[in-house]
């Protein structure tokens, strides 16, 4: 199991989500987070691994996974 940093933005930053998590891959991390924080599922969001938006990948220790709901800049 890899130890992952989690950062959340926009409305997801209001959900008090953990800042670290153990997971082997992105899909299982997503399931684990949605299971623990079911409010996440109310949002459409992407996940970025070390700043790259990905839908699936294996994770390594110290990877940073960001939860990115729809942008609203400008």
């Amino acid at each position: 199991m890899a130890l992952i940093n989690i950062i959340c933005f926009g409305p997801l930053s209001d959900l008090m989500i953990t800042t670290t998590c153990e997971a082997n891959d992105l899909s299982s991390l997503k399931l684990q987070l949605e299971d623990t924080y079911p409010d996440i599922k109310k949002y459409t969001y992407n996940m970025a691994v070390n700043q790259r938006i990905l839908t699936a990948c294996l994770l390594n220790d110290n990877d940073t996974v960001a939860l990115l709901p729809a942008y609203s800049g400008g």
């Binding site: 950062i7 933005f9 926009g10 409305p11 930053s13 970025a48 700043q51 960001a66 990115l68 709901p69 729809a70 942008y71 609203s72 800049g73 400008g74």
Partner: protein, 148 residues
Amino acid sequence: MAPNKPKNIFINGPITPAFIAESIQKHSSKKSIGAHQLFLGQVRADVLPQGAITGIEYSAYETMALNIAYQISEDAFAKFNLTCMHIYHSLQTVEAGQICLFVFTSSSHRFDAVNACSYVVERIKAELPIWGKELFADNTYIWKKNLI
């Protein structure tokens, strides 16, 4: 020319008219420029059931946003014949009536500056990981949703 590494685009608080004037002034020494196009995003005091929006508090995934802004800039220079291009976006609180986004493109002939400006604005809205929290007078807020 496109910068060769990401440069900061973020400004804490509003983008002031004085800052915009200074940016324009700096280009007076670039005498091959014939056209500038500027896009400014201004915070609207939209009235929602909670009341009128008093301001927007912006936050961003800053490092990722700077890398993407750099990519947008590189793509704009590849696609259009530009002399200069600048992007500035606010972080923190910008009040209604103040400016939160400033895109500035310059070229010899107007076609390139005009088209590059719109190209860059559309990509900024779609791709930069920035979020706005719409603030109300009673200290409540809602997260801004951009029109698609």
